[in-house]
């Protein structure tokens, strides 16, 4: 398959007129007293595919994980600045972080499949996060798996272990699991870097299709992929080991000379 020029609307007209979904406002991230990322600002429009690119180690993943406040779970990094979701600060007191994370889903570099059945993997988040009655689960599972083009491959094996799926299928299963809780934004952390070419294409096709209904933030080190998929990118560069925003806008406007 060939992905043609992905975005009809390269001008980004809707990016300026509609209200942004996510706004990153002068965000800095510190380890101890030392800054890792400094004063990053950008905003992401509804149904945009927004790329975050840059050399490895510059803090792309760290930045991505602050967007749904996953970062704070595992590390002792501190954050200044602000991130707003539909205009409301993620860091405001009284924010329901769990509900926020349900609205801003995440896909990781390595597919994370729980050691249980395909079916249970899909409903893993759904059964806690949504008030859906149990008898509707099969319907949602089918829909989610169809959305990621996995249904035909696993419909006979729904109650078998998900760990037997291929890596590419596992990643799509993770995407289905995320879609089942119906997030508005999906954060993707190099979702294809662990996959072979064919699975990569499948995931790229999915992203291409998903942007009709969701907003996607895609971290990638693969410039060709970013060119194929994204409307705009935030390009990070490291200077004195501090990551900064070097470019914001359509990727074709970015030249790598500084990086």
């Amino acid at each position: 398959m060939k992905l043609e020029e992905p975005v009809t609307d390269k001008s980004g007209a809707n990016l300026t007129t509609s209200k942004p979904v996510l706004e990153v406002d002068s965000l800095s991230i510190f380890a101890g007293g030392r800054p890792l990322l400094q004063r990053i600002s950008f905003s992401i429009a509804v149904h945009e595919v927004f790329g975050i690119i840059g050399p490895s180690g510059v803090g792309k993943t760290t930045l991505l994980r602050t967007l749904n406040r996953l970062l704070e779970l595992d590390s002792e990094l501190s954050v200044t600045g602000d991130i707003r979701f539909h205009g409301k600060s993620n860091f405001a007191g009284g924010t329901d972080v769990d509900a926020l994370r349900a609205k801003i889903g995440m896909i990781f570099q390595q597919p994370v499949v729980f050691p249980t059945t395909v079916y249970k993997n899909v409903i893993f988040g759904l059964r806690h996060v949504t008030p859906l009655p149990k008898k509707q689960y099969p319907e949602v599972v089918e829909q989610a798996l169809k959305e990621v083009s996995l249904w035909n491959q696993v419909k006979e094996r729904l109650h078998e272990s998900a760990e037997h799926l291929s890596l590419g299928q596992q990643q799509r299963l993770c995407l289905a699991r995320t879609l089942a809780v119906d997030p508005e934004v999906i954060l993707m952390d190099e979702p294809t870097s662990a996959l072979d070419t064919q699975s990569t294409q499948a995931i790229e096709q999915l992203i291409y299709r998903l942007k009709e209904t969701r907003t996607i933030v895609l971290v990638t080190h693969n410039l060709a992929q970013a060119k194929r998929l994204t409307h705009r990118v935030a390009a990070l560069t490291a200077k004195d080991n501090i990551g900064r925003l070097a470019h914001l806008g359509p990727i074709h406007e970015w030249t790598e000379e500084g990086a």
Binding site: M106, F108, F114, H128
Partner: protein
């Protein structure tokens, strides 16, 4: 690589094998010894008669160990029932909720405290616990504060560090990616633990409990000091709990007592004592083996 290389005879290898054989020899001896030394009593009482006999009167050559098996199981079950919820709760809090810096401190403290010698626990049992238990049991007209319950509670405290620290290892052993995936879907800490972490950590946690149980079954000194050491105490019906709050005897408290000295010279009595050792060894080895299997399963998953 050296690990697979051809090897000719070397002094180093011979020494290594020799010393290893010595170690195996000693420990193989142990099993054989208890088996061999206990033969007379198996013949005298019959296997079932010895294991399920309800009367132990060494002066009358009656050797049935059921009451001691009962005592051992009773104190160990009480200990596990106490240590398991607290230990796993503390392990979850330490592994999942405490920040890394505090977690290390808590772990270290618990592991150090696991080293307090059992005779010291026994001392605390004698000086404090048995008096508290006596007061607590007042409504039931207790004879003394030295009861199976006292020993069980003391054991529960003793195995708490084992259960806690090994469960914590099992929980921390679950790859962080599962945690991130679950939290990334919007699950709360509790939901993440219940649906994501616990199912994966389960074999390791069960292993932790089994190892705690193994320690409780074999603990001697602390139990000896507070169990009352009253022979032939058995419940009247299967579900009667009365003997729990009365003095009892366990396999280890009998082995640690004066009869072990007394018995030598009387082959039958000595055989009965060695038999206790054999039974204890079998029970503990079975529990430990099971725990080891589960713990191993966890390691191979990583």
């Amino acid at each position: 690589m050296i690990r697979g290389e051809h090897q000719s005879f070397s002094m180093t290898k011979a020494m290594s094998l020799g010393f290893s054989l010595l170690a195996f020899g000693f420990l193989g001896c142990m099993v054989g010894l208890f088996l061999w030394q206990s033969l007379p009593v198996w013949q005298h009482e019959g296997v079932l008669g010895y294991l399920f006999g309800t009367e132990w009167f060494y002066r009358a050559d009656r050797f049935g160990i059921l009451s001691m098996v009962y005592g051992t199981l009773a104190v160990s079950v009480i200990a596990v029932l106490l240590a398991t919820p607290i230990g796993i709760g503390a392990a979850l809090f330490t592994a999942e909720i405490l920040p890394a810096s505090l977690r290390r401190g808590v772990k270290l403290t618990i592991e150090l405290l696991a080293g307090i010698p059992s005779v010291v626990y026994g001392l605390l049992g004698i000086l404090f616990l048995r008096n508290w238990i006596y007061t607590l049991l007042e409504p039931f007209d207790p004879i003394t504060g030295d009861t199976l319950l006292t020993a069980g509670i003391l054991l529960g405290i003793m195995i708490l560090p084992t259960v806690m620290t090994l469960s914590e290892d099992a929980i921390r052993g679950v790859s962080a990616s599962y945690r991130d995936a679950a939290r990334g879907l919007g699950l709360t800490s509790f939901e993440t633990v219940r649906s994501g972490i616990l199912p994966i950590a389960k074999p390791g946690i069960v292993a932790a409990i089994l190892l705690g149980l193994g320690r409780a079954l074999g603990e001697t000194i602390a139990v000896f000091l507070v169990v009352g050491r009253q022979d032939n105490q058995l419940p009247e019906s299967l579900f009667s709990l009365r003997p729990i709050i009365e003095p009892g005897q366990t396999l280890t408290s009998k082995l640690g007592g004066s009869e072990t000295h007394l018995a030598y010279g009387n082959p039958l009595h000595w055989a009965a004592i060695a038999g206790l050792g054999l039974v204890l060894l079998t029970i503990v080895a079975a529990v430990t083996w099971l725990g080891g299997r589960l713990a191993e399963e966890r390691h191979y998953n990583e």
